[in-house]
């Protein structure tokens, strides 16, 4: 925080200055210390006796010397440059930015969980194993599928896991096949995961409802198609009403139906993927099941599978014995193998189960009901002000475009930035790709009506500003710690670290 001597500067500049924070490396001063350790209590022999000099480094050049005060100040000030769910609506479409209950944080910090080691023998960690077992039981019931692996640590990781299982299953049948079908509305991780699993991508054009066209699918599903990867509801928020028929088409050809469960929040407790003919689904626990997004993670992406894919699940699986004890089972000869060291993001899984227990059967259903109600309320209030590229009924999110604003040269990016001046985090923008200038709004069930109203009023105010004062919107944001960034410069001459 550095003030200035220039008495003529505007107050805004003063305030902006007080909203900047130097890099921790710039705070370093000779002699400062932020740590203390107990004095060494074993004989202090020469380092050479411990490790030959050629295997050692010298001092960590340019590492910091700062006090505890410097550090807590630094991170407290940095935190103030972020917005968060606890401060208000964070309507990032497709990200399900819901309330993160604090009881989850408390429970995850229980010493018995927090300090258990991933390689302890079974008898020392029965509590953890039982917890994992219960989480699988719960997800099985939610998915309507017979088994679930908890190993994947994110949605994309789950996608890779799922497609690898499909590949292995088909390979066992003699031919892993070549293609994965993916609608053009899909999230980028879908094609990326399919590619890393060894497949080529065939993109499916969405029809005018934004959904998969049955006839087109029928045609696309050839003998060398391994699976269709769809998102239910899709990234427009539209439910694929013909999902059962789609499953039949695929199954008839020996192909699998993979469901990206990122949007499970819209139908959890209302309908079950297994009942829709889905063979594999991942769920982003950091979305539907409230584990905090943490600025970009951690997450978890458990994968549920139908009977035919069970042999291929990653190892280990967690099993329960007759006597009520639990163990990690590695005896799956056809398993695709291990997706990650240890047991995945265990302490994310703890939070998710804590949340599921807090919601219960009635609460889980209520999530979907209120998430869909909130989204449709926004849709109803904004419909007259923003263009709705697909007006098929939507569930938990609604995607508008900037079509009504572009004539004034106001674009989605401008609208997003202007929302910040009104105190809101913008929606997801320019996704899905099938909508030009997409504004993808997902409020989640957490939001109170008055927050939705405030958001809608801000959006409506911006729609007006776009007509009456477009330059105000184009030059937004005006009230944030920093204003629009030169992103081109960042990519052209990348500066990716501090240097002295």
């Amino acid at each position: 925080m550095t003030a200035t001597l220039d008495p003529t500067e505007t107050n805004k500049d003063v305030a902006q200055k007080s909203a900047t924070e130097p890099l921790i490396f710039e705070r370093s001063k000779q002699g400062r210390r932020g740590y203390q350790l107990p004095a060494l209590d074993v004989p202090e022999v020469s380092l050479d006796e411990i490790l030959p000099a050629n295997l050692r480094r010298d001092e960590i050049t340019d590492e910091v010397e700062v006090s505890e005060v410097d550090v807590i100040r630094h991170f407290t000030r940095l935190s103030k440059l972020n917005v968060s769910i606890d401060a208000g609506l964070y309507p990032l479409g497709s990200c399900t930015m819901k309330h993160n209950p604090r009881i989850n944080e408390e429970i995850a910090r229980t010493p018995g969980f927090a300090h258990s080691h991933p390689l302890q023998p079974e008898h020392q960690v029965q509590g953890n194993l039982e917890l994992l077992w219960w989480l699988e039981q719960t997800l099985k019931e939610i998915f309507g599928l017979p088994r679930v692996t908890l190993q994947p640590v994110a949605g994309a990781h789950g996608e890779l896991t799922g497609i690898l299982m499909v590949h292995k299953a088909l390979a066992k049948g003699g031919n892993p096949r070549k293609y994965i079908l993916i609608p053009d509305s899909a999230h980028g991780t879908n094609p990326a995961s399919a590619a890393f699993a060894g497949y080529e991508i065939r993109e499916l054009k969405s029809n005018n409802r934004g959904t998969v066209d049955l006839a087109a699918l029928q045609e696309a599903v050839t003998e060398d198609v391994a699976a269709l990867m769809i998102t239910v509801p899709n990234t427009l928020g539209v439910f694929e009403s013909e999902i059962r028929a789609m499953a039949d088409i695929l199954h008839a050809k020996g192909a699998y139906l993979y469901c990206d469960g990122a949007n499970l929040n819209s139908f959890v407790g209302v309908a079950r993927p297994g009942d829709m003919g889905i063979d594999v689904i991942h769920s982003n626990l950091h979305k539907t099941f409230s584990t905090p997004h943490g600025g970009g993670g951690p997450g978890a992406g458990p994968v549920g599978v139908s009977e035919s894919l069970i042999p291929y699940l990653p190892t280990p699986t967690i099993e329960r014995r007759e006597d009520g004890t639990f163990y990690a089972d590695f005896s799956h000869p056809d398993s695709i193998g291990r997706m990650r060291a240890f047991h995945g993001n265990f302490n994310v899984l703890v939070r998710a189960l804590s949340y599921m227990r807090a919601m219960g059967p009635s609460g889980l259903r209520r999530i979907a009901q209120l998430a869909v109600l909130n989204a449709n309320y926004i849709r109803a209030r904004l419909k007259g002000h923003y263009h709705l590229p697909y007006d098929a009924p939507t569930l938990h999110e609604v995607v508008f475009s900037d079509k009504n604003q572009t004539p004034k040269d106001v674009h989605t990016l401008d609208i997003a930035k202007r929302l910040m001046d009104y105190g809101f985090h913008p929606p997801t923008i320019y996704f899905p790709l099938i909508v030009s200038g997409a504004l993808m709004i997902e409020p989640t069930e957490s939001e109170p009506k008055e927050e939705l109203d405030a958001f809608c009023e801000a959006m409506i105010a911006i729609a007006r500003e776009s007509q009456e004062r477009p330059e105000l919107v184009r030059s937004a944001p005006h009230t944030t710690p920093v204003r629009r960034l030169d992103e081109a410069r960042a990519a052209r001459q990348p500066v990716l670290r501090w240097k002295k």
């Binding site: 902006q16 890099l23 740590y35 350790l37 380092l47 411990i50 960590i60 010397e65 700062v66 940095l78 935190s79 440059l81 972020n82 968060s84 009881i103 429970i107 018995g112 300090h115 080691h117 991933p118 509590g127 953890n128 939610i142 892993p176 980028g188 990326a192 995961s193 890393f196 009942d275 905090p292 943490g294 600025g295 970009g296 990653p314 193998g337 291990r338 060291a341 240890f342 993001n345 265990f346 703890v350 804590s354 227990r357 807090a358 919601m359 219960g360 059967p361 609460g363 259903r365 009901q369 109600l373 309320y377 209030r381 098929a392 957490s446 204003r483 960042a490 990519a491 990716l496 670290r497």
Partner: protein, 463 residues
């Protein structure tokens, strides 16, 4: 149908704001008479006509009772002296960090897609990237990967992308077995071949064997300290690895405080596990995978990268950059499928590295190494205890007794010591060996006690 009426007060849930009054108002605005109408696009034959069969809803009181009872059934380093390592280490955890992580601005935000309202997260990642570079001696670090095992997968795939054509990767057998298994899973359909190179008598990689297989490999990956605890000689390995991309794996991140850096000794990529930077062992996750590469490789980097730039007022600011590598732009051609990563753990690591700083990181490493050397020497003196590998170590080493490791460790557990990890679980023929890890948190008293209890256990077994 036993489905509750959503507008009834009894249906209200504390995590969901809107209730009776709100719902009625909103339905009116939308112009439908019930929430069910909003689900008409879901065919009735896939709709549930009853509630799911799971426990709950629970109050916090009930949740505390049940989860604490479960946690109480674990035996942990909270109530035992733990010498467990093998990729998950119990180091000092500064009190400030966890309390700062609970700040909603860090905990509940998401990926900083909108830099104007996410500078806190972005600047922290930029600082984290810088710490990684300083510690590894390499040029460019990313914002985080899932963990050490998947970081190695990404490194192998990166190396393959730049190698063009070559299909063989050499990986030391002394890389963490879970990491190696994960690589096998990742690449199973990509037409790549993994050649393993074993260790020599001292526990270090077998250099001759390495030399013999490196020629046509696109990459060589070793771990140091390796899974046996032995510190590898980067120069020698680099020389033996020839022209292949050299990947160093570090599963014990505090070792950077003391050990020669991969960057200054011929390596191109360093990946590993950041858990040792004060993150709880928490049964294996969440942890944080890191990747640091030479500048030439930066555009092949998987995951998020944060760069410095300026805003329209010329004010310094940070932003996600080089995004054309990533799945949301490149889709099927992306450098990785990763999206959500381990940002919060990387933030914790940045806090830890900043708080410990230049001298703290050194002291943690020196104390860990000195205490490990002290214990190792003490155990060596115990009759019929063997140290099968004589190579230099950092803070972990293999102990061999005449008896099954599992039995010996059971004996130690009775004395409230979690004595080590049986090597036989990973390598056939090593049933009498176990890995012992020491950190700065161990007291001399605990180390002496360990030695005493171990020799007592051995005598007991002998009878």
């Amino acid at each position: 149908m036993s489905l509750p009426d959503p507008t009834a007060a009894s249906s209200s849930h504390r995590f969901i704001s809107n209730a009776g009054e709100d719902i009625r108002e909103m339905l009116a605005t939308i112009g439908v008479d019930s929430i069910d109408r909003l689900f008409d696009t879901i065919p009735d034959d896939v709709k549930l006509d009853e509630l799911l069969d799971i426990p709950g809803p629970w109050s916090e009181v009930e949740s505390r009772r049940w989860f604490r009872a479960l946690a109480a059934r674990n035996v942990t380093s909270a109530d035992h002296a733990s010498f467990l390592g093998a990729g998950a280490y119990a180091h000092y955890q500064p009190a400030m960090i966890d309390q700062l992580l609970l700040r909603a601005e860090f905990l509940t935000a998401y990926t900083p897609y909108q830099p104007e309202v996410s500078q806190g997260t972005l600047q922290s990642i930029f600082e984290y990237q810088t710490h990684q570079c300083l510690l590894t001696g390499l040029d460019v670090a990313n914002a985080s990967l899932y963990d050490g095992s998947t970081a190695l997968c990404e490194a192998v795939l990166l190396a393959e992308r730049v190698a063009k054509g070559k299909k063989k990767v050499v990986i030391a057998k002394s890389v963490h077995p879970h990491y190696l298994q994960t690589v096998r899973t990742y690449i199973q359909n990509l037409g790549l071949e993994i050649v393993e190179v074993g260790w020599g008598a001292d526990g270090g990689i077998d250099l001759d064997a390495l030399r013999a297989v490196s020629a046509d490999a696109f990459a060589v990956a070793i771990q140091s300290p390796n899974f046996l605890g032995v510190v590898e000689d980067y120069d020698a390995v680099a020389q033996a690895a020839g022209s292949a991309t050299k990947i160093s794996v570090v599963a014990e991140a505090t070792s950077f405080g003391l050990l020669a850096t991969p960057g200054q000794h011929g390596f191109d990529i360093c990946v590993g596990e950041g858990q040792a930077w004060g993150i709880p062992t928490q049964f294996g996750g969440p942890y944080v995978g890191f990747m640091v590469v030479r500048d030439a490789l930066k555009r092949h980097m998987p995951g998020r990268l944060v760069g410095e730039t300026v805003d329209v007022d010329g004010k310094r600011a940070y932003v996600l950059t080089l995004a054309t590598r990533e799945q949301h732009i490149r889709r099927g051609k992306a450098t990785s499928n990763i999206c959500t990563n381990e940002a919060l753990i990387a933030l914790a690591a940045n806090m830890y590295l900043s708080l410990m700083g230049k001298y703290g990181l050194r002291e943690v490493a020196e104390q860990s190494a000195r205490k490990a050397a002290y214990l190792r020497a003490k155990l060596k003196d115990i009759q019929s205890v063997e140290l099968p590998f004589a190579g230099p170590i950092y803070n972990e080493f293999v102990v061999r007794t005449p008896f099954a490791a599992a039995d010996i460790l059971k004996d130690l557990e009775h004395e409230k010591i979690l004595g080590g990890i049986p090597l036989g679980d990973f390598f056939a023929g090593h049933e009498r060996d176990f890995l012992v890890a020491v950190t700065e948190l161990h007291t001399r008293e605990q180390l002496d006690h360990y030695a005493a209890v171990l020799s007592a256990a051995i005598s007991r077994e002998r009878r």
